[in-house]
Amino acid sequence: MNGLSVWRVEWLRLLRTKRLIALLGVFVFFGFAGPLLARYSAQLLKHAGGSGQQVTIILPPPVPADGVAEYVSNALSIGLIVTVVVVAYACSIDAKTALSVFYRTRADRFGDLLVPRFAVSAVGVVGSYLAGLLAAWYETAVLLGNPGTAAMGRTALVGSVFLVFAVAVTALAATLARSTLGTIGYALLALFTLPLLGALPGVSRWLPTELIGASDAFLRHTAADHAQRALAVAVVLTLGCVVAAVRCGARREVR
């Protein structure tokens, strides 16, 4: 068999376009920077204020949860933007007409093209997030103490599910927008306006964006029962986005 499988092509896409390096770079950077920031933020603020400052800011002494929470916060905001950009470039199958002709005249179903892109992108993003989390865990353990294996496991789970949800939203956006920039715009708009739905009574605890706050609750050992609901909704919405993306893409014409 001489063919190059779609899965292998998607893996090469991550490697050769340096997108995996970009993802790893961003998440691992925040993984090392988060605990440092948590450990030394009081000293940084003190030096930034200068000697003539009238106001004294007193921060509580940092705890292990602060180091990892700092990473999760950065990873699921700035890291999320990088994720959307990387996935948008992978999933915008129709952004270039001639390339779209190449793919669409060979694949039997649109899902054969989109699902591997979604899956490999998700693996790349989650892998990078977990690599950053490991870095944050190690450095937090060194600087502030161990936040606990169970809490780290739950943090890894909710963060990963949220990022996979973001990948699915971006894949759907890619079948609605024609260009890659349009895909990025649609996906970021959806992901950053989703928390606004939380203003509706009884809705906020069901939103996937609730997962971002849930990891903080896990790390500080406070109640996070609602995370199960948000997790379930995120999984259902992820599957829904992928199915909708496959259907929208299949119906679309090549320009």
Binding site: M1, N2, G3, L4, S5, V6, R8, V9, L12, R13, R16, T17, K96, T97, A98, L99, V101, F102, Y103, R104, T105, R106, A107, D108, D112, E253, V254
Partner: protein, 352 residues
């Protein structure tokens, strides 16, 4: 190789303002090269896209007598993932269709045993990209991408190959190679070949379809188009002084439709039909007692026939191009075109 490989019936795709397709009844014979010609905006790409299943029609239907999985399409400027090498792109083409092959037939298009020659190297050699096989396509020129576009189509061993302007970015030698390749492919499969370069279509196509403003004006053998819309012509070269005498004699012949002595001293004669010209012209030369140097038929080209059919003008290209001597025929051609258009309309009305 009998019957039609592709048939469309009353195909309509209306983009508004007259653009699109307006009732196209295409019939592409199985086997051979079908040349689709037409000016920009005629609807060629739309028609080929609908045939390939990339666009939908507003009305009408497309019937393919080949398996949809055995249709390969090559756009005019193919694009590939720039981070894959040429060989990887060909293997990617195989990999994408292998999934389809497994689903439909339980095997792949190119499931080969270990002793079989490598099809990837074979098609790359066929299109002249052996040396670039391990180069990433991001650095390829447009011409190289066109060659690779052919390779990724050929590796699938399609029954129907749709080529949209496959030579538009090639240099003269590359163009000749690809045309030769296309002509060869037409012997074993069905090729639909669209091009603005009518000489290319004339060179490789067995059948031609003339698309103009979304309507198919003519469909049939290339020879029929030329014979139907252009009058046969010959160029006679004589010893000095004899050409005026022959021209004078020919002007009084009923079968002659046009006589002109060109600037290089030869006599250009147009006849009502090929048969009568071939019989009568030698007799006329003998009757004029002229010393004959050469007598040759003037090649009737598809471009002239196309322009006659669509009501266009050869214009400046005819005056400055390789057939510059025909510039003086412009007025005659335009008059003839009007007459032929009338004849075409009458023919179409009769056919209806």
């Amino acid at each position: 190789m009998n019957g039609a490989a592709v048939t469309t019936a009353g195909l309509v795709r209306d983009y508004g303002h007259g653009a699109g397709l307006h009732g196209v009844d295409l019939e592409v014979p199985r086997g051979g090269v079908y040349g689709l010609v037409g000016p920009n905006g005629a609807g060629k790409t739309t028609l080929l896209s609908i045939v390939a299943g990339l666009r939908r029609s507003d009305a009408g239907e497309v019937r393919l007598s080949v398996d949809a999985g055995r249709v390969a399409v090559c756009p005019d400027t193919p694009e590939f993932e720039p981070w894959l090498t040429a060989a990887e792109v060909v293997r990617q083409s195989l990999g994408l269709t292998a999934r389809r092959g497994r689903r439909h037939r339980g095997s792949t298009v190119r499931d080969t045993d270990g002793s079989a020659p490598d099809p990837v190297a074979g098609v790359l050699a066929e299109v002249g990209l052996t040396e670039a096989a391990d180069r990433r396509t991001g650095g390829f020129s447009r011409g190289m991408k066109q060659r690779l576009g052919l390779a990724v189509a050929l590796v699938l061993e399609p029954e129907l190959l749709v080529l949209d302007e496959p030579t538009s970015a090639l240099d003269p030698s590359g163009r000749a190679e690809v045309l030769s390749l296309v002509a060869g492919l037409g012997r074993t499969r069905t090729v639909i070949f669209s091009s603005h370069v009518l000489a290319d279509v004339q060179r490789v196509a067995d059948t031609v379809g003339v698309l103009h403003r979304g309507r198919l004006l003519f469909q049939g053998p290339v020879r029929d188009l030329i014979d139907r819309f252009l009058q046969p012509a010959w160029e006679v070269r004589l010893r000095d002084g004899d050409e005026q005498r022959l021209a004078e004699l020919l002007r009084h012949q009923e079968w002659v439709t046009s006589v002109a002595v060109t600037s290089d001293g030869s006599v250009r004669v147009e006849a009502a039909s090929t048969a009568v010209g071939e019989r009568q012209l030698p007799k006329a030369i003998a009757a004029a007692d002229a010393a004959l140097i050469s007598l040759r038929p003037v090649d009737a080209d598809l471009e002239a026939a196309f322009l006659a059919l669509t009501g266009g003008q050869r214009g400046q290209r005819g005056q400055r191009g390789q057939r510059g001597q025909r510039g003086q025929r412009g007025q005659y051609e335009q008059r003839e075109q009007h007459e032929r258009r009338g004849q075409l309309d009458a023919d179409q009305a009769g056919a209806a």
